[in-house]
Subunit: 569 residues, 2 copies
């Protein structure tokens, strides 16, 4: 490709709203442009990288035995009502009506469509297992689209769905997809981790893993144990229970004491003004969700993990009660709520249950209790792991290692769905004995466009992008420094022609621009190898630059050519 | 691929709503499934054919110098207001609102998006010309989706857009795209014709051609001259004017005579009851459009061509006035309307202007005039070509050949848009002298999914589909007649393995089905070559079937292998 014709205007500065490196660089280097919030056009350079990712994904899906198909974006709303997700999905679901006022959604995912298709196509165990996939545009009306391609409202996904006759079959399919995911992310040159995760709105009964590209801009925190290789999304990470499950004697403890605490409503105030350590405080939070109002107790130095709470009570959404609801439910304002005498269901975190005694709100304005004993002063009927793990705590699996935290970008997610959708949508089969059973499903997603952004986020320096060879829009960038110099021109043209004939994707900078501009743009665009045809062209010399190594070497054209032709670049 | 695992259930009968051959066969052979009216899922076989078409289109677009990009489906409604198409496009435009109540459309085409993008990227003649394309899902809320993929509401398109500095540049770009289209349709094995066409809602000032796959189910009629190769969409086909433009003497003709015609309101009645030949009748039709009400006069044996009328008056839509509007405008009901004394603008078809005299409504209930002389009894201020050409008429270009009619499926459409969008959306550039000028645009579409349907419609017999090799989902179909016969099994497996190693896309029918079922399904699916491994497998013999030739030949396995490996299949 000749750069003079390439639709790829480079920008000196990224628009102010671009806060992350990948967003800034993909805009500045001419890979993408925003059309509306969270909605992007891929310019030719961006489209090329996208296609390379698509092809890697396609190859590995095919190797894993998945069959490519293509499902529609427009999905009848009835299907989503049948699966009971029409309401659950909430405002993220894009909805529209056709000219006959029939309701449709724009698919954010395709469980409904594929399950209803398969129920019509397959009725016997003999046609199972089957795994299908598609690479397709998805729509999700994010409340806050951000970071360019990272969290968009229209984006490219690979989604796959598997149908097995039983859980053993699903285990095998799941393992095969897990491995395919590893190969895909390795081929894309990503630094990533697979972590245990929460199933979220997709749901399902079984195991689920997220694949996380490690990055400081990641919205997810992942907890990793260096000793046993345990890794989990912090939403999901269990808390080490080794020290907490002790038995306590409570008989001989003194009764709780109420004391006057006007204006003291926070853990920080208790610590600063009354010298009570946060780990001695029982924090009482009122939540609503799943049609009920309930309290969650955690230690003052701990945080409620809402995902754990949500999963425990089996609600799709939970939220902190607002001031009015707190007053109504607990009879007192926030800051003085406490478990003693509270007439609400109470979820008690294990660390609270393990406390000998603690300080907590007295359920009366301007008063706290000290010396409150869990199990004596309030009931411990629902004790569990309701808090977020903390960095430096012991690993919940091996108990030896100490958890480290990383930030991660979710680039893939695989789920064992089980029968969640096959039950609701009636996808069943006859087994070898003629009995009808629901199919056992799995689903497997990769954010293709987000993956592009994650690779860009991981591969750059202050000058611009640095593509891994497998995803680079072009493998070689020829910089012809002066378009007016006939020797340079003919040398660059000959080299370009040779590379094209060798089938090496090459971009020739034939623009009438200053050398400085060409060097800058080349670094910004981030093609792995640049061959500079400059003033030494007459002596058949070029400069060979490796963007990844940051190296520069003057060499004979023949050597540069053989180096790129060898395929070892 | 092993057929036992392939998601491709064949059906004995197509659903009743499938009326066309392609729709029936694509459903029966397991290529597509309907999700909603005009909305289809591509099963693995269908996806494979689709990808082959995509790749041919991509290769030819790249050769033609077009750059691939990818634009969003969700487009801000403001952009469509800016181009003044938001209302014009009417109900076919799918509309939705996001969570913030901002209006979007789902792109049926991308002139607005690309023009607004280019205005921001290119400001100098030095970056022009540029041609970009994308292969992308489009949405169009068809009033009557039909014929499967032929006229869908969600479909796959290749759309390309070119930007030149002047009309000469556009002419060159247009010619290059025209040639690329010819190569694409030839490679897809289509019987087609390029015809002059009408620009429709896309609009534009210049030339436009449709590429029509010839087929009896085509919704378009095309007029072709065998003598000079003139071909045009009937909407657009001009009428030969050689015999009509004569001068007439009207002075000596007798005055028009009013006569009583109670209950006679149609051309057919005039002919049957009063023996007046239709070519002696002047038909007067009242239309509305472009903000006005007007009459169109054609001969009784001719039909008004509404496209020609619409283009003449410069309206985006016109329609016949309803009974009430006719009464209001002409003072009489339909059937007695006539041009004499009519106080409306009147468009007179050339054939009417050339009549010596004729019979027509008298503008009074139950009366007609005979002997009405055009130009004497009513004014000939707006004479033009307002009728539809008829088969057997002389060619409007060479005047010698006689027009033949064919039915065609529109599979491609190319337009010289000129400045229609660049003016409205402000896409201008500075020329070499520093003057600002609007870019001169072209746009170029191919219906990828419709092309698939057109190829299926042209290539089949009573047993099923017959794919051209370039588009076939697999090139070779191995039929292992008995899965219980160990010799057949090992022979078929060995052959399958060899073909896969040779890189030949092969489908192995390893299903536990009767031989008859396998033969039937193979013919239905339509893979070009089938190799039957049956009872002669022990003697290393197979049957080699060519679906296209309908031939069968028993031969050594080695010969069958070398035949498919030679690449000459």
């Amino acid at each position: 490709m000749r750069q003079n014709n390439l639709l790829a205007t480079t920008l000196r500065e990224a628009p102010a709203e671009a806060e992350t490196i990948n967003h800034q660089l993909l805009l500045r280097a001419g890979y993408i442009r925003q059309l509306a919030a969270g909605i992007y056009t891929y310019l030719p350079l961006g489209r090329r990288v996208l296609r390379k990712i698509e092809n890697i994904v396609r190859e590995e899906m095919d190797v894993a035995g998945a069959q490519e198909m293509l499902m529609p974006s427009m999905q009848p709303a009835e299907l989503w009502r049948e699966s009971e997700r029409y309401e659950v999905y909430g405002k993220e679901l894009m909805k529209l009506r056709d000219r006959h006022e029939r309701e449709f959604v724009l698919g954010p995912t395709h469980e409904e469509v594929i399950t209803s298709l398969i129920r019509g196509e397959i009725s016997s165990y003999r046609k199972l297992p089957v795994t299908v996939y598609q690479i397709q545009t998805k729509f999700r009306d994010e409340r806050r689209p951000r970071s360019g391609l990272m969290r968009g409202r229209e984006f490219l996904m690979k989604d796959a769905y598997s149908f097995d006759t039983g859980w053993e079959g699903l285990d095998k399919t799941y393992a095969r997809m897990y491995k395919a995911y590893q190969r895909i992310f390795e081929r894309c040159g990503l630094s990533y981790r697979a972590v245990q995760a929460d199933a979220g709105a997709i749901g399902g009964e079984g195991e689920t893993h997220e694949f996380m590209a490690l990055s400081s801009i990641g919205e997810d925190t992942i907890a990793v144990c260096p000793a046993c290789d345990y890794s989990a999304n912090l939403e999901q990470a269990e808390v080490y229970s080794g020290e907490e499950d002790m038995l306590r004697k409570t008989d001989s403890l003194p009764a709780a004491v109420k004391f006057h605490t006007p204006g003291i409503r926070t853990i920080a105030q208790l610590e600063q003004e009354l010298q009570i350590a946060p780990e001695q405080v029982i924090k009482t939070l009122i939540y609503q969700g799943g049609g009920q109002t309930f309290a969650v107790l955690v230690r003052g130095d701990h945080e409620v993990n809402e995902v754990k709470v949500r999963n425990f009570i089996g609600a799709s959404e939970i939220a902190l009660a607002d001031a009015r609801a707190v007053q109504a439910a607990a009879g007192v304002e926030n800051g003085y709520v406490g478990p003693v005498g509270l007439s609400l269901p109470v979820l008690v975190d294990r660390a609270v249950a393990a406390m000998t005694s603690g300080t907590t709100g007295a359920g009366e304005k301007d008063y706290h209790f000290s010396g409150v004993v869990p199990g004596r002063d309030f009931i411990l009927s629902q004790v569990g792991d309701f808090r977020t793990a903390q960095e430096g705590e012991h690993c919940p699996v091996c108990g030896k290692g100490v958890l480290h935290f990383h930030q991660g970008i979710e680039i893939g997610h695989i789920f064992k769905l089980g029968t969640k959708y096959s039950d609701k949508l009636g996808a069943s089969f006859l087994d070898a004995t003629g009995r009808s059973k629901p199919m056992i499903m799995g689903c497997y997603g990769i954010g293709i466009s987000r993956l592009l952004a994650a690779v860009a986020e991981q591969n750059n320096d202050e000058q611009g992008l640095i593509w891994p060879m497998a995803l680079a829009p072009y493998k070689v960038h020829i910089l012809q420094l002066s378009v007016k110099d006939e020797v340079q021109r003919s040398t660059a043209e000959a080299l370009y022609k040779q590379l094209i004939e060798l089938g090496i994707e090459t971009l020739l900078d034939d623009r009438d621009e200053r050398a400085g501009v060409k060097f800058k743009d080349s670094s910004l665009i981030g093609i792995p190898v640049a061959i500079v045809v400059g003033k030494d062209a007459g002596e058949h010399k070029v400069e060979y630059m490796d963007r990844r190594l940051g190296s520069k070497e003057v060499m004979d054209i023949a050597e540069a050519l053989s180096r790129v032709a060898s395929g070892q670049i």
